[in-house]
Symmetry: C2
Subunit: 558 residues, 2 copies
């Protein structure tokens, strides 16, 4: 069998003017700020109005732990949105923006795949509407102002060894991870060690994605802890006086972006925080705008459900007052097989027992999501090599847990391949079955919150943290940060902190290496294992192959 | 007297939809890529077509050496464009984009002033259409790929001490001028010293502004010299394999931006290279597009005519095959007084003899511009405190040189205040008097080119350069770069290299401190004195005052 590539399909898209897409949601032209003919931002004023309207039903698409076989979470998000529209529902999707830097490392990007994609794909993998550049500018303005404050006399008595605010760039550039700046003499400041993270790791990104509006954005930016004095009292962004200018820099970036699916349905694409040191969801503003305009809103969360759905529920939904109506857990036969021990080269051969052996990973995600009070449907994202017996094995397993798995062929067929899932999801949403509640209350002590996630979601026996970390948490509680939720940063490949431990491991421990306060975003980051916040480029970076071909088309980006 | 501020005037602008502005130049909607309702890019296809059409008349606006009193070069460019339209001519203006970083240092920006402004002013002083962000990304991708190449084995044998390609950021951040990167161990690469420049200083910016189209852009990017081997043979961008991906990153940035004046006339705002280490003009693409669509195109060049007009003629016009029809030299009574020795505090009092004493600075610029074969008119940009006798003194002086000075009140009155100048400029342009030729031929040896500029434009007696610099120039000649024009980097405040030497100094020397090869941009940079390529922030940066006020309007940016 031969298939068209994603980019070939995307280039054949019959795109409609973005004004027509906006009209489907009742957005008037004057509130649609176009970027070219196929992208637009929705004006701040219209967003403020839309958020106060009726509430659509919120549907979360999450997944099993990722494997090299791929799950197709974004593809299923797009497909389900198209599927709901195809059965006559007014639906929109909300997904994250792509980061520019990584596209020049490995072959990149794409928003969905096959016949379930968002377009214009090329722009979305390049500068799009400039949001990430604005975040980079706002972040680095604060950085420059901190060093400038020290240069001009350091009235705030910042301890130069305790500056936690680094700089960011939307690039994979390992050379910038660790550096000494302000060399070269008196006119360049005081030499000190620091570094760059990739833009998606910026707390500004997390803040933009959690802020309700420009006022809330400015307040949160002001709350960022940027450094400490020698006596360890914190220095905030507002002490530096940067939050007003940062807000001005972010005014356009705060407006959600509207594009379309291949089937010309509305897609909000807005924000893209890391799913480890941040919460990994598109912006609250986009989700709330979509909920005010559509009857069904399909969104996704980063990584598997152990990280993505957990943070979506415990951070985003808690903070934004969102109530998810249904959760879809995406699984593939191939990923089940890999969880069952099959290596990538052997994925093409039927192996029902391996599928069965891998299913407990899916099972645990189902249990976990249900524990938040949200009804679950499993979407089996069909791959052409899947056999009927393998698919049936997944269905049987899910049925044994009292849930339902539905085969979806949206990748190959678009909306008509996913109508069964769309119908079932709409029924569940309309039934108002959800009894959503976060996993822990705001008042629970921070360490207990960590333990709760580790025990209830990861099924660990214990959390391991030394006295320094426990004391740090207590200090933050004393400083008034005790009510913040936890943002876990661990490997996405396993329920445990060991990326090689597939399936549904029990009796493991969760060692906490470090805790960080994201006071502006409003969460405590708990780091378990190595977390890379500035990627590098591979030996042969994709950038070497990216170029315009003789027909004027971009090659190598996808 | 009280006046409205520039921003108050700009906010009262009766902006028309950008499609209407495009229609004035015959740009169809499908080739106008909107950014919001008041900005657009002109599509690559349309630009390619427009550039092949008839040629409008090109009018350069330049100025005397800048003083703290201000001259109003951009204001006059905008005013003259409006003035030409007001007398029934089809005219467009072409100016540079503003750099983001400096706006957060000193009160910034603005495109023109009073009733001769380009709007939307706020966007133009923030991210605008993202061109500078794209340039930053393209530049830093190359940087990351260079260090990545070394990390993976350094097959090209780059001498890590001889990497000339730095990184850039559109921010005033002195802490980034000089740094050691790649610290932290094996996985972060090989430690080496480098730094950041501000984005407008990037050779990518100069290249974008001189490139004819995407193909030429890619060729020029490939030509950039990024480093040398131990044997001093150059490593090019194309050896790193970055030029294709950089071109893809710059595809939108290469399309000129269209906005409007307060009087709803078309304004192209595109590119903004430094006026010292680069040539300080808006893009060739914008100028050529405007010339293909309008009968008169008014453009400007950075700094005074000794740097700005010289580079406009010798670099931009030479390389792009442009023939300027008329040059307008902007002067103010106040600036003449400062050149005549009056301090800023005393500018408000009438002082005809000081005006007369300062006029020789203007006189020399007139002579210089005429020497390129281009007819000259002087625009006296009126300030409310100017007296009739002072204005007459300037007019008399200019008349004594056989030229003409015309009083212009466009700042206060818009187009109706500049109709006399517009009429005269149109007459001169229509008369086809220009006998433009660059100052020196391509074949002249590089050192002689420097001497020619120093003697003929600066009126210096000699150029001082040690053997190392002379040898470097000879090596470049041997390597095939001998036909490149010279890009002088010296103070803009004087004809000499001493910023305090006002007026029309003679008998001075031009010491050359350093020469640099911009092989992609296609010029040799000759540095005379200290040139800052990464500014710092002042003690109290403007950013601390920038914020949204209670009415939702931006404060402190202007």
């Amino acid at each position: 069998m031969t298939f068209k590539t994603d980019i070939e399909i995307a280039r054949e898209a019959n795109k409609k003017p973005i004004q027509e897409i906006g009209a489907k949601l009742g957005i008037p032209n004057e509130h649609l700020l176009p970027f070219g003919h196929d992208k637009a931002k929705v004006s701040q004023e219209f967003v403020a109005d839309a958020r106060g309207r009726k509430r659509g039903k919120l549907i979360l698409v999450t997944a099993i732990n990722p494997t090299p076989a791929g799950e197709g979470k974004t593809t299923t998000t797009v497909g389900l949105g198209d599927g709901l529209n195809a059965i006559g529902k007014r639906a929109a999707i909300c997904i994250r923006e792509a980061s520019l830097g990584p596209n020049f490392g490995m072959k990149g990007g794409a928003a969905g795949g096959g016949y379930s994609q968002v377009v214009p794909m090329e722009d979305m993998n390049l500068h799009f509407t400039g949001d990430f550049h604005a975040i980079t500018s706002a972040h680095n303005l604060l950085s420059a102002m901190i060093d400038n404050h020290i240069y001009w006399g350091n009235e705030l008595e910042i301890d130069e060894r305790r500056i936690t605010w680094r700089r960011v760039m939307d690039m994979n550039d390992r050379a910038l991870r660790d550096m000494v700046i302000s060399l070269g003499g008196v006119s360049n400041g005081f030499a000190r060690q620091t570094g760059f993270d990739i833009t998606v790791a910026s707390e500004v990104m997390a803040i933009l994605c959690l802020a309700a509006d420009l006022e809330d954005l400015q307040r949160r930016l002001g709350d960022i802890v940027v450094a400490y004095k020698r006596d360890k009292t914190p220095i905030y962004c507002r002490d530096i006086g940067a939050e007003g200018a940062m807000t001005v820099l972010l005014k356009d970036a705060m407006q959600p972006n509207l594009v379309q699916t291949l089937e010309n349905n509305p897609a909000f694409v807005h924000g893209g925080p890391f799913a480890n040191i941040a919460h990994g969801c598109n912006s609250v503003v986009a989700t709330q705008t979509a909920l005010g305009l559509a009857d069904y809103v399909v969104t996704e969360a980063g990584f598997g459900a152990d990280l993505g759905a957990e943070k979506f529920f415990n951070i985003k939904c808690r903070k934004a007052g969102l109530k998810p109506a249904v959760a879809v857990i995406v699984a593939t036969v191939r990923a089940m097989k890999m969880n069952g021990g099959v290596v990538k080269a052997d994925l093409g051969s039927e192996n029902v027992s391996a599928v069965q052996k891998g299913c407990p990973n899916l099972g645990r995600h189902i249990e976990n999501v249900k524990s938040f009070g949200v009804p679950v449907v499993v979407a089996i994202n069909h791959f052409h090599s899947d056999t009927d017996a393998e698919v049936q094995a997944v269905k049987d397993y899910v049925a044994s847990l009292g849930s339902e798995a539905i085969l979806c062929r949206h990748w190959a067929e678009g909306s008509k391949g996913i109508s069964e899932l769309a119908t079932r999801v709409a029924e569940l949403a309309d039934g108002d079955w959800s009894q959503f509640a976060p996993l822990y209350g705001d008042d629970m002590p921070l360490y207990e919150k960590i333990e709760t996630i580790a025990r209830r979601i990861y099924r660990a026996d214990e959390v391991l943290a030394d006295a320094k970390i426990r004391n740090q948490l207590k200090e933050w509680e004393a400083a008034g940060y005790g009510s913040l939720p936890i943002c876990m940063a661990k490997t996405q490949y396993s329920f445990s902190t060991d990326p090689n431990l597939r399936g549904a491991p029990d009796n493991h421990s969760v060692p906490v290496r470090e805790v960080r306060l994201s006071a502006g975003a409003g969460f405590i980051v708990v780091i378990c294992g190595e977390i890379m916040t500035m990627p590098g480029l591979p030996r042969k970076p994709a950038a070497q192959s990216i170029r315009f071909n003789d027909e004027g088309l971009i090659e190598g980006l996808f």
